[in-house]
């Protein structure tokens, strides 16, 4: 019953919006605004078989590797910076400096450093989506409850055990927020990383369509990106449920109305 309601809620609005789009765009003659039926048609033609395995899979693979790396790096660095004030003072300006770099102008630098292979593209993804994880981890680590910190100190819970049972767990709601932010960013950066120095990939293909004036095909690619976003966010939610069960329980326990 509850599951049904959830499912209904999840698809309700999209169904309405898709319907509106479908009928609103029907018979569109605008070159850049093809009708949804044209786009769906192009989708079927485009993203099947070899196209999927040759263009989409490599991209997804890089996306996943880049994303996971970003989370790991962001959390590790965030714990370090959040824990030691002097490290934070030392690194924060440099990080803010780097953070303001637009990835498109950064790609050349990345190419210079690590060539034009997958490594560069993964680097671009990591560089772009490490920030939400990093910033949130820092704040999460800094903002933990003092009584818990004191408890750990008196009971001499130190080192890795402290990291695992206090630092990471206390920051985990915020880490999850950061990771959540980073997920769609990773998809965006996957596309950006394939804007230059690429000859295959989902982002590259979408851009090719755009340049080649294959507008319905381009929109079908955008559609695919959105669908990937939905799928990844569903996976993310499953992971979050098990990771933050205590958190949502604590918060929902008293919020049944």
């Amino acid at each position: 019953m509850r599951f049904l309601l959830r499912a209904l809620l999840a698809v309700g609005l999209p169904v309405v919006l898709v319907a509106a789009w479908w009928f609103g765009s029907a018979g569109s003659q605008d070159f850049y605004w093809p009708s949804l039926s044209t786009i769906v048609d192009a989708f079927g033609r485009t993203w099947t078989g070899a196209m999927f395995t040759e263009q989409v899979f490599p991209s997804l693979w890089r996306l996943l590797v880049g994303y996971l790396l970003a989370v790991v790096v962001g959390v590790a660095l965030g714990v370090l910076i959040g824990t030691f004030r002097s490290v934070r003072s030392l690194l924060e300006p440099v990080l803010e400096f780097l953070r303001a770099f637009p990835p498109p102008v950064l790609v050349p630098a990345a190419i210079l450093l690590s060539g034009i292979g997958d490594r560069t593209k993964i680097l671009v993804i990591v560089f772009g989506c490490v920030w939400p994880v990093l910033l949130n981890t820092i704040e999460g680590v800094r903002g933990r409850d003092e009584v818990l910190s004191d408890t750990c100190r008196t009971y001499r819970v130190t080192g890795l055990l402290r990291l695992r049972h206090l630092v990471l767990r206390a920051a985990s709601p915020q880490i999850v927020t950061g990771a959540r932010q980073a997920l769609p960013l990773a998809i965006i950066l996957m596309v950006i990383s394939e804007m230059m120095a690429a000859n295959e990939g989902l982002g590259f293909t979408v851009l090719q369509f755009q340049r080649g004036f294959q507008i319905p095909e381009m929109w079908s690619g955008v559609l695919l990106l959105g669908v990937i976003g939905i799928v990844l966010s569903l996976l993310f939610r499953v992971a979050e449920r098990s990771l933050l069960g205590w958190y949502h329980g604590q918060r929902a326990g008293q919020r049944e109305w």
Partner: protein, 271 residues
């Protein structure tokens, strides 16, 4: 027993230390970038050392076109950020406090968020032409999500006892947002603003770069097309410096509005 005392000197001393460390960090970074091309880790022609970049930058500072571009970029950035922060906060608070609404919109949001701005470029150009407006739309589109997601999570983070207290005293929706939800979400909001600020800056520059609306990004593109490597890097350094300055301002604000938060508290206690 209670006396309002002036800020103890230790705190200012600490602030001084932190500023010094920060400067040292930047200096060290600059040094690495000076040395790396000089000893051949990266080719000097394509990655000019810091000193050359700074000379070029100084040269740029003397040009009026640079300042016009900078002001334009800042204008677009500030407008975009403001809209994104206000809209992101409003929508975030709404979604965070109404779980049903959140559930109903989640799929749509997840669909829209990963659409890269580059893919939206033809769309905004068709709508607004290669103008500041187009760039602004891209900026708002990208920064809005950052803000919204942070706020949604922040709203959920309200202490259940604090929320029940507010409910039992029958605080109205507005009072609850103003006095309970907003303050507890504030740490998330501040992080959101910091994230959105950088994303807005990035998209302002990218938008200008790709669309060609006037500003720093366009200057960067122009320099790239002209093989003016040093100018390119000088301009990128400017965006970096903007990033640092923006962060300084936000940190300052944060120190004020989050004085009560454990993260700030722990640092103010005389130990």
């Amino acid at each position: 027993m209670v006396a309002v005392a002036a800020r103890p000197p230790r705190v200012t001393g600490r602030r001084f230390r932190s500023v010094t460390l920060g400067a040292a960090g930047l200096l060290g970074f600059a040094l690495v970038l000076e040395v790396a091309p000089r000893i051949g880790i990266v080719p000097i022609d394509f990655a000019p050392p810091t000193s050359q970049i700074l000379v070029t930058l100084a040269d740029q500072l003397g040009q009026e076109s640079f300042w016009t571009a900078l002001l334009r970029t800042l204008g677009t950035w500030a407008n975009g950020l403001l809209i994104a922060v206000v809209a992101g906060t409003a929508v975030g608070v709404l979604l965070g406090s109404l779980p049903l609404l959140h559930a109903a919109t989640a799929t749509t949001v997840e669909f829209l968020r990963p659409i890269p701005s580059v893919a939206l470029i033809p769309l905004v150009i068709v709508l607004y032409g290669p103008t500041v407006r187009s760039t602004l739309v891209l900026v708002v589109y990208a920064a809005f999500w950052q803000m919204m997601v942070q706020v949604v999570h922040g709203v959920v983070d309200v202490d259940p006892i604090a929320r029940d207290t507010a409910r039992s005293f029958r605080l109205g929706p507005w009072a609850r947002v103003r006095y309970v939800i907003w303050p507890s979400a504030l740490p998330y909001v501040m992080t959101g603003i910091r994230l959105a600020a950088a994303v807005a800056l990035i998209l302002t520059v990218t938008g200008e770069l790709v669309i060609g609306s006037p500003g720093l990004g366009k200057e960067i593109d122009n320099a790239q097309q002209s093989n003016a490597v040093r100018v390119v890097y000088a301009l990128i350094v400017v965006t970096g410096i903007l990033g640092v300055l923006i962060n300084v301002v936000i940190r300052q604000v944060e120190r004020r509005v989050l004085a009560w938060h454990p993260s700030a508290r722990a640092e103010a206690v005389v130990r």
